[in-house]
């Protein structure tokens, strides 16, 4: 079961267009997150084709389109799809109503995390310095592992 890439791409663009449709502010608030729903659908039923990277790119496009913080929706889309993929075997055979309920719950969590990140966005500047530390940790770990495992083996004797 493979769907053509063209279909996936086309539906994603259509969903993005639906999101960008200029609506009155009162209606805009209630507009569903079409792109997120589309991404969830493809990851649920065509997981071999539409996985985490697809979700990340879709989220990034949404960020660019809405002039938001670049990477925020990309992160949230990735996390949501990870959740969906982890629960996939249960979720894909569930009745439609419970699927909808579960997806509503996902989106609630999604929106709460989005609000939280918007709130701490000012601290993201200092986050950049922490990030470099995380990366240097990544580089340093093999060295530490090598040295300490060597030490552990020596001290066993």
């Amino acid at each position: 079961m493979t769907t053509s890439w063209f279909a996936i791409l086309l539906t994603s663009i259509a969903a993005l267009a639906l999101t960008l449709l200029p609506l009155p502010a009162a209606v805009q608030v209630h507009n569903p997150q079409w792109l997120l729903l589309t991404v969830i659908f493809w990851s649920l039923y065509r997981p071999a084709q539409a996985g985490l990277i697809y979700a990340w790119i879709a989220g990034l496009m949404l960020d660019v389109a809405t002039n938001g913080l670049l990477g925020l929706n990309a992160l949230l889309f990735t996390l949501t799809v990870f959740l969906v993929l982890s629960l996939r075997q249960r979720l894909s055979v569930a009745p439609l109503l419970s699927q909808a309920l579960l997806i509503a719950t996902f989106t609630l969590v999604f929106l709460m995390v989005a609000l939280w990140v918007e709130g701490v966005a000012n601290d993201l500047v200092s986050m950049a310095t922490y990030l470099s530390r995380a990366l240097s940790n990544l580089a340093a770990w093999p060295v530490v592992f090598f040295l300490l495992s060597r030490l552990a083996r020596i001290s066993e004797r």
Binding site: A17, L60, T78, R88, Q89
Partner: protein
């Protein structure tokens, strides 16, 4: 078959994507150049989508024009012709005034002011952001629209270009919480920072208590911030809040621009000190319309200029 494959996602990939996202967020927050370029490049695609969505509206308008009565069209042409004559008449006066002001300034060893070039742009959509103070216009990089360019309408300042791509540009309104500009308070000559609050109100904080300002006074751009040319009407003071313990007052103002019903806006594309804009500029109607609001004279004449255009 596919149902029983687990397709359990790889944890490594997730972690890499999470780290990349967080890095992107913090770099975007700092304002790194290549993140801006990425934003601009991908923004071309999304602005293209917005432009495509807007096409049906343009087509509907085009079809609607077929059914307009000939008589109505003639009436409309007549009205526009009258308005054009009126504006041209006013403009002659302003051109003369401007020359006079320039001569006076030259005598005082000041800089001569020139009327900047403007570009008429149509509003084609608004991105669904949380704060809702952005909108997209149909002119982009190709039309020389650059980030930071001022955007005005027939009445006053609307905002600034936030991002410009191949197919369009995003405008941040001056009512946004992320927007600030430098204004002159009425006739006092004192400059202050005008901040957006997210809704229709604008705030000027920390004005000395003795400043002679009243509700109804006009705030105009000061030109100090070098983003906006000097003398454009921005907002009208609605209330003054006393802060007696500190010796300062706070001004609440409302924008003069008609932000609720924006359809066409003008982008000021040339920097205010660009040479030889004025002699040629009289030809096209967009620039003629824009001129009365520009009036690079002192603040008083700028006030009267907008007063007149409000009456029309």
């Amino acid at each position: 078959m596919a149902l029983f494959d687990s397709h359990r996602p790889g944890l490594n990939l997730l972690l890499v994507l999470v780290v990349v996202s967080i890095a992107l967020m913090s770099l975007d927050r700092i304002g790194t150049r290549w993140v801006g370029q990425l934003d601009q490049g991908l923004g071309g695609a999304t602005d293209g989508i917005i432009k495509t969505i807007h096409q049906p509206v343009v087509m509907a308008r085009g079809i609607g024009q077929w059914f307009v009565e000939r008589r109505e069209l003639h009436a409309e042409v007549e009205r526009l012709r009258e308005e054009n004559t009126l504006l041209r008449g006013q403009m002659q006066q302003f051109v003369a005034l401007q020359r006079e002001v320039d001569e006076l300034r030259a005598m005082l060893d000041g800089e001569a002011s020139t009327i900047p070039g403007v570009l008429l742009a149509r509003r084609i959509g608004h991105p669904p952001s949380l704060r809702g103070n952005l909108f997209t216009i149909g002119r982009g990089f190709g039309d020389d629209v650059r980030p930071g360019d001022p955007v005005i309408d027939a009445h006053g300042v609307v905002g600034q270009i936030l991002r410009s791509t191949r197919f369009g540009a995003t405008v941040i309104q001056l009512t946004s919480r992320d927007h600030m500009l430098s204004v002159i308070l009425g006739d006092t000559g004192r400059s202050a920072l005008l901040r957006g609050t997210g809704d229709r109100q604008l705030v000027v904080e920390r004005v000395p208590e003795r400043t002679a300002i009243e509700p109804g006074d006009l705030l105009t751009t000061s030109g100090i911030d070098t983003a906006f040319p000097r003398g454009y009407p921005v907002a009208r003071v609605s209330t003054i809040e006393m802060d007696e313990a500190q010796g300062f007052i706070r001004l609440i103002a409302e924008p003069v621009a008609d932000l609720e019903r924006l359809d066409h806006v003008l982008v000021i594309t040339e920097p205010p000190d660009a040479p030889d804009a004025s002699p040629k500029a009289g030809g096209t109607p967009g620039e003629t319309l824009e001129r009365p609001a520009v009036a690079p004279a002192p603040d008083e004449s700028a006030t009267t200029a907008t007063g007149e255009s409000d009456d029309d």
